[in-house]
Each structure stands twice: as C-alpha cells, then as structure tokens.
C-alpha cells in the first residue's frame, strides 16, 4: 500500500517548509530513517527522513517549492504499485494528511478559483494557489502544536458561557487564551431562535480579544493570520480579495415592503433600506466581517456603521449610516435618503462619509445582474447588490417565477476567510428570505 510523505514540522514553530533538495530520486529504494530530502524551515535546513520503507514512487513537490506543514510531498510504496488517486487521500497514510477542503464543508475553499489540490501530476500546482488554499482549510485557532493553551480561569469561564476555546485567539504567551480574550467572544451554542438557517448557522465564536478600545477590539495577529495576510497579499495585490456570490429569493422582502408601503408612512421603505438593515443585523451576528485590517492587527468593531456607495457626478462617495443595526427601517430609510441627496449636492461633512465598518454598493437600479465591488480599505468587506429580477426557479416542487437578487461579497482574505464570509452571507440570505428574522 502506498504511503504519503508529508512535509513534517521540523521545528516547533515551523508552518511551512521549502524543499531544498531531494536526496532520493523517483524509483529509488528507501529504508526507514533514510534521508529523503533537505528542507528549509523557518530556522535552518533540516533533513526529512522516511517513516516507511519501500520505493520513492513519486516526488509531488519539486526542489525550491515551499509547502505548508502536513502537505503531501511524495509517495513511497512498492515497485510497480499504482499511485494513489488524486490528492493521494485514498492511500494508507502513515502520517496524518489533511483531507481535501471539499470534505470539510464549513471550511470549504473560499473562492471558486482555487484549484483542487494536486491532481495526478501535481508538480505544476502554482505555489501561490496551494499556499493560499492551505491556511484556509486549516482549523482557525489551535496553535501548530495542536495543544490548546488556555488559563484555568479562562477554561472555566468558557465552559460556563458555552464558548469554544478553539475559535478564540489567545493573547497570552504563545497564543495562550486568558480571561481578557473571552471578554468579547460569543457563545457557539445559539440561543433559541437566533439561528435562521440550518446548522451550522451561527459562526464559531470569532477571535475578538485584546484590550477593548472605544467601541472596538484590536486583535493581535496570530502566526497563521500573518501568514495568510502575507501570502495572499503577495498573490493578488494590496488587498487580497476574493468574491462570494449568493442568489437570494426576494419574494418575502417584496411582500413585506408592499405591506409597509400599504400601511402608509412619510418614508417609503426601499429594497435598499431593507438590505442595509439586514446587512447590519447579520454583521452583528458575524463580527468577524465587521472589521478593519490595520496592518499589524485587526480591529473588530463593536458597532456597525454601514457605508452606502452613492454615485455622484464624476465619481462616487460612501456616506455612512451609523449604528445601522440599531436603527429602524424607517430611520434608515430617512437617513439614507437624506445622505444620498446631500451627497449628490456635495454637501456631506467629512464625518458623514468616514468611519464605516462595512459597505454596500447597489447597481440593481441600473439593471446590473451581478458585479464585484472594490473594497474600501481599511474595511474588509463590501457587498455588491444586483437587480431584483423575476426568474423561473424551482420552488415547492414546481417551477415558479420568483423575484431573485444576486449578492456578491468582496472579502479581504487577510481578515475574512472563505467560510467566515460564506457564513455571513448565509445569515444575510436567510434574513432576506425570511424578513421576520430582522426583528429577532
């Protein structure tokens, strides 16, 4: 049976290794303890030895390539033995090999563009892509050693409050979780009725530690977070953006809006107002998406301030609806209209268009089906809203014409991982498809 050779953690802090040189070539016989390759760790060049004997059937990583710890780098088996299937996961693995991301739905690869890991001759897998995929499919918090470090007091309080320590970023020595890290963490056990979608609806409690400032929490960057930031920024650009699209059934929002309009009010509630309210409410549940990238730390905002892109003559501006999660639809509607009006007249004061924690751009009124919006740094997410259009869709066992809308969220991967953004979008979709969720 063929056995995977994986990049081993050759130093306690090693997160990735660069394969300097293969010491055994394909087809060469290896015995347990033979040096297979030289690997450059974060500290030194070390030898990677064979854990099983046989023949080195394949080198799946070439010299010079850098791969994360635990990634497969080759296969050892018997001469003539068939190679394991793509990804090599079918093989009997001596060392623990991470399963492909697809098998872990909650942490599924965030962007469609990420190639599936290493099919057949995986030697050519682009470094950037494999590097990007790796941290994303790793569990979010536990340190490389796998041991969860938390103070006894933090453990007791976390247990009592139903906090998942694995989802909390520790600020003590070597990422040890201490009391202050729990202050803003949220329970993973949902309160009744607060989970509009199927499990896992509520996100794992997201790191919200460090000393709270005024209205936000600054979180030191973990090693993993630094690595994600560094690699992704190298791969794409200053803001390593990925996009998530979800189509939302707007029938019930439309019904609700009709009902509100019929009830009569000086403010006519628009779809946009409802979307702003829903985004703000969903962000409240997903503080991980309500954050600023601050280069050496991440600022998780405790308040939700929604920036609303408004097209103006020869440009655009993003006035801010502050505390949008705490405002009523009527308040949001009135404020949005006032801000948009004054934006077009260029009469906004600076504090009216700065300080947003998340933004929304809506081109639905211009008949755009879907698009991607550009993140407004230091924010880490923006939602691009397409038009609401009647479409034939499967509904209750039949094809029906229903009003549908496509939402595309641009995420800064340094702050928001694929699954994190997806869960936010899932909550948002659930809220719009059942607007009652907004008042829960």
């Amino acid at each position: 049976m063929a056995t995977q050779v994986v990049m081993e953690a050759l130093s306690p802090t090693m997160e990735e290794g660069r394969l300097v040189e293969w010491k055994k070539q394909e087809g060469e016989t290896v015995a347990v303890g033979d040096v297979l390759a030289e690997v450059e760790t974060d500290k030194a060049v070390m030898e990677l030895v064979a854990r099983v004997g046989g023949v080195l059937l394949r080198q799946t990583v070439t010299a010079g390539q850098t791969v994360p710890v635990s990634s497969p780098i080759g296969v050892i088996g018997q001469p003539g033995e068939a190679l394991p299937a793509a990804g090599g996961n079918g093989a009997g693995t001596a060392a623990a090999v991470p399963k492909p991301a697809a098998k872990l739905p909650p942490q599924a690869a965030p962007r469609p563009a990420v190639p599936a890991p290493a099919a057949a001759s995986s030697v050519a897998a682009p470094t950037a892509a494999s590097a990007a995929a790796a941290p994303v499919s790793a569990p979010p918090a536990p340190p490389p050693s796998g041991r969860l470090k938390a103070s006894p007091l933090a453990r007791k309080i976390a247990q009592e409050r139903g906090l998942d320590l694995r989802a909390i970023q520790g600020s003590g020595p070597e990422g040890r979780i201490v009391l202050r890290d729990l202050e803003t963490a949220r329970p993973t056990r949902p309160a009744a009725g607060s989970a509009p979608a199927a499990a896992p609806a509520l996100p794992a409690a997201r790191p919200l530690p460090a000393a709270p400032g005024e209205g936000f929490t600054d979180t030191p960057l973990s090693q993993m977070r630094k690595t994600i930031a560094r690699r992704l920024a190298q791969s794409i650009g200053p803001v390593p953006t990925f996009y998530l699209t979800s189509e939302v059934d707007m029938e019930r929002v439309a019904e609700a809006r009709q009902a509100m309009l019929a009830a009569g009010s000086e403010v006519k509630v628009s779809f946009n107002d409802i979307i702003i309210k829903a985004v703000a409410t969903a962000l409240r549940q997903h503080p991980a998406c309500n954050a600023w990238w601050q280069d050496d730390h991440i600022r998780y905002w405790h308040e939700v301030h929604i920036g609303m892109a408004v097209a103006i003559e020869d440009g655009l501006i993003t006035p801010v609806i502050r505390h949008a999660d705490r405002k009523t639809l009527r308040e949001i509607g009135a404020e949005a209209r006032d801000l948009a009006g004054r934006a077009r007249e260029r009469r906004l004061t600076p504090e009216e268009y700065t300080g947003s924690t998340f933004s929304i751009s809506n081109l639905g009124m211009l008949d755009i089906d879907e698009f991607t919006a550009v993140i407004n740094p230091p924010e880490s997410g923006i939602l691009a809203v397409g038009r609401i259009v009647e479409k034939p869709v499967g509904h209750a066992g039949a094809i029906a014409l229903r009003r549908r809308m496509r939402l595309t969220m641009s995420c800064d991967h340094r702050v928001i991982d694929g699954a994190t953004g997806a869960r936010f979008l899932q909550t948002l979709k659930a809220m719009l498809e059942n607007p009652l969720a907004l008042v829960w």
Binding site: S151, P152, L153, A154, I157, E160, G172, V178
Partner: protein, 464 residues
C-alpha cells in the same frame, strides 16, 4: 557630545534595567546619573534597610527565643552604628554590582544631572547628547517632610530615611510619621535597637493600603513588642526643639502628646521632576505631579520621550520600575512587549512579621461588588512556622465565588515576601484556588499555609 540609541536619565532600578535590556537588544544605551548607580533602592532604600532589618531580626530572635532554643547568651547589647556600617557595605557592593553590569553591557554612564532638551536630546553639564530612538526619564523620587504642619526636614531632629540610614546610634526615642512600608520597617529596626517608638498614621490603621486583617496582625505584633501606635491620628501641632520634638495629636477625638528625640518623616515621597526641562520639552505632568504617560507605551506627551519608575506613577516600587524599564527597552528595540499588568504588582513590607500582598483587599473586592469567599490559614497551625517559633500572622486568600479566581492574597508572617510569589505566579497565569491546591506543597513548609488557605476558601481546610 555623543550619539546613542537610547539615553536614560536616572540610574536607579528602572533606569539601569532599561539600559541593560536595551543593550541586550542591540541598542547603544547611556545612563545619566548624578549620584550613585542603583538609585534610592540600592543606596538609601530597599537594600540598606533590609540589611538593618536583618540585624533587628537576629536581635529579636536572641532576645525572645535564644533561651528556649537552648542557646545561652550574655545580656544582648546592640550597636546601631555597627549595623549601619554593615548596611552601607552591602549597599556599596550592590552599587558596584550595578556599575559592573553597566560595563558588562557596554553601557555608557554619564555622570551628572541630565536635562531634557527638545528633540530627544539630553544636556549634562555643557555636553548635549542625542538619542536616535528615545530618551527615557527615570529620575525617581526622594524623601520629603511635611512643612505645612511644621515638620520640615532639618537633618537633626526632623529626619527622613536618608538620615536614619546613617545614624551612628539609635535614638532613645523616635516618633515616626507615616505607617506605610517605610515607617513600619524603621519602627521594627529601631525598636530592636532599643529605641522607644511611636508610630503615627493619619489613616485609620497602620499599613493603610494593605488588607485590614494584615494591618491588624502587624499592629498586634508591634504592640506586643512595645511599639506605640496611633492610627487615625491627626498632628495638630508640632514643636521642633534643638534636641527633641513634641507632637500634639488628635486621635479619635482625644488629644495625645508625643515627645521624642527625633521624628522620622515617612509620609509620602516627592517626585524628581524639577530642573529636568520637562515643560520646555513638552513633557506634561498629571495633577498629582507624576509625568503623564500613555500606559501602553509609557511614552510621555513629548514624542520619543518615555518615562518609567516612580516618576511615571504609582506604585512607587523598584520591581514595578524594573518591569517598566524592560518594557520601554523592548518597545524601543522594536519588540512589542506584552502589556504590564499593574493589577499584579506584589507589595511587600519587610518588618517582622513580614506583610506581603497581591491583588485586591477584601474591602476593595467588596466595594467592587464581587462575590467572594475568603480563606484563611494561621501560621500558628503550620508545622514549619511552629518549628521556628514564627507563628504570628496568617495567609488570607480572597477568591471569586463562581470561578475560584484569586482576587487577592495577603500574607503576614515570616518570609511572607518570599512565599507571596506562588500567588503572584498563580494570578499572572490565571490559576484558580483549585490549581493552587492541586500543586503538591512540600511538607513541612510555610507555603503549605497558602495551599491550606486556598482550601479554606473552598470550605475544606485540612489542618484546622
């Protein structure tokens, strides 16, 4: 005129440790010192007083225990002058030790008084030195009298610890104004050398910042040794004569009169913020006279100028200064340090019995509305304490009812200063009383009293 990465004004505990840490991190550091390296702590504070307290301790053991221990001595004679000279020797050795540390780390020591100039420059005499990374103020504090009630330091009858540490003989009688750590330690020292002591405190009890039970335990011990205590005492009138001082007090509505050959002022310290050019360089002070700092970075209101130790704010303790010194050095070297936990600075008074504490007092915990359980264990029930006839005092642990968090810990007893660190480590790492109990304590030790107090707070003390 020279260029450095960091210039530290003041070579006391905060300053010299800052310099060492700077050097360790590859920065070129200079320390400006107008007197002796090591500052008050090494020369006229922590170290010489502990040397004298050791003399006092041995005197008391011989006086009270020798016979019972099977030791025959003649009549005990004390000589403060001899003890004082030994304390000077210890202090001088320590100061030389600091000098050695400066040499070892290739730290330039600039002799003279430093004055801050704008733009990270420091003037010493006619030389102006420039710091590339930052200037660190570590000028410390000094003794002070209370001229507003007629007790200005005169060096003869109204003295401070500065003079008390150099007396050739113990005075026949001594009134001590202020029963904090300094006042209580000198009460202990001179009492052992035969001085008639009156300890006067304006607040309701001696060691007013400590837990009330700790104060009471010490007060009991002091009274037993014949130290007169007046707490909650207001000095209404002070008459300073040529060879004596008369203090008129108001204690609980009653008038008292204290006469003594000398009065030792131990009520507060003055901050060394004068003649440093602070205002001109943009360094502001708080309304209490400390240098205003950003608590996270210890940077003053003048960019690039940092402040550590006593002048940076309370508590005015050497070990707090040490930590601040390391903190700023790491910041300046680009190694962001972990925040300083000011709630976890131990406080120790080295009189006998010693008083040591960390965290909140019971009163403070109640005032904060915390739900607490108090555990106590007296040293009279501790085997080791009994073997050495040191059964005074207790360990008191205040725990949070729900999670067992150690909210505060207080020890009165022999070697309290040493054994408190178990609880400092526990608090620093957020161990609860259960982890303290789980750790196996060697028998027989004084530290067992800590485990027992932890157990008592859980309602399952073993040895009472």
């Amino acid at each position: 005129m020279a260029n450095f990465d960091v210039i530290i004004v003041g070579g006391g505990p905060a300053g010299y440790v800052c310099a060492i840490r700077c050097a360790q991190l590859g920065l070129v550091a200079a320390v400006v010192e107008r007197d002796k390296l090591g500052g008050v702590c090494v020369n006229i504070g922590c170290i010489p007083t502990k040397a004298l307290l050791h003399s006092a301790y041995v005197a008391n053991v011989i006086r009270h225990d020798a016979k019972e221990l099977g030791l025959t001595t003649g009549e005990l004679k004390t000589d403060y002058g001899v003890a004082m000279r030994r304390s000077r020797k210890v202090a001088e050795q320590n100061s030389k030790g600091v000098e050695f540390l400066m040499k070892k780390h290739k730290i330039t020591v600039i002799r003279g008084a430093g004055k801050l100039l704008p733009g990270k420059r420091v003037q010493v005499g006619s030389d102006v030195h420039t710091a590339a990374k930052g200037v660190v103020l570590a000028t410390g504090s000094r003794v002070k009298g209370l001229p507003q009630i007629g007790l200005e330091l005169n060096g003869t009858t109204v003295i401070s610890s500065d003079e008390a540490l150099f007396l050739e003989q113990a005075p026949a009688s001594l009134a001590i104004v202020g029963a904090g750590a300094v006042g209580s330690e000198f009460a202990d020292i001179f009492n052992a050398f035969g001085t008639k002591i009156t300890l006067i405190e304006v607040l309701p009890r001696i060691l007013p910042v400590e837990d009330a039970e700790a104060s009471d335990a010490l007060a009991k011990s002091f009274r037993k040794r014949g130290i007169a205590l007046h707490s909650g005492a207001k000095i209404t009138r002070a008459t300073v004569g040529k060879d004596n001082v008369t203090l008129e007090l108001e204690v609980g509505g009653k008038a008292e009169r204290v006469e003594a050959v000398k009065v030792l002022m131990a009520a507060g310290r003055a901050l060394n913020t004068e003649d440093l050019g602070l205002a001109e360089a943009g360094v502001q002070l708080t309304d209490r006279g400390f240098v205003k700092v950003n608590l996270a970075t210890l940077e003053t209101t003048a960019p690039g100028v940092y402040c550590i130790g006593d002048v940076a704010g309370p508590p005015m303790l050497a070990h707090k200064g040490y930590r601040e010194g390391e903190h700023v050095a790491e910041l300046l070297a680009g190694h962001p340090p972990r925040p300083i936990d000011y709630t976890n600075v131990p406080s120790v008074t080295y009189c006998h019995p010693e008083v040591a504490s960390v965290g909140l007092t019971e009163e403070q915990a109640k005032a904060k509305g915390l739900a607490i359980q108090v555990g106590r264990f007296p040293f009279s029930a501790n085997g080791r304490a009994r073997t050495s006839n040191e059964t005074e005092g207790l360990v008191k642990i205040i725990r949070d009812t729900k999670y067992g968090e150690i909210v505060g810990a207080h020890i009165v007893g022999s070697h309290a200063s040493e054994i408190i660190h178990e609880l400092v480590v526990a608090r620093t790492n957020e161990y609860t009383v259960e982890e303290v109990d789980l750790a196996i304590h060697a028998h027989p030790t004084l530290s067992e009293a800590i485990a027992e107090a932890a157990l008592d707070s859980l309602g399952r003390v073993l040895h009472i």
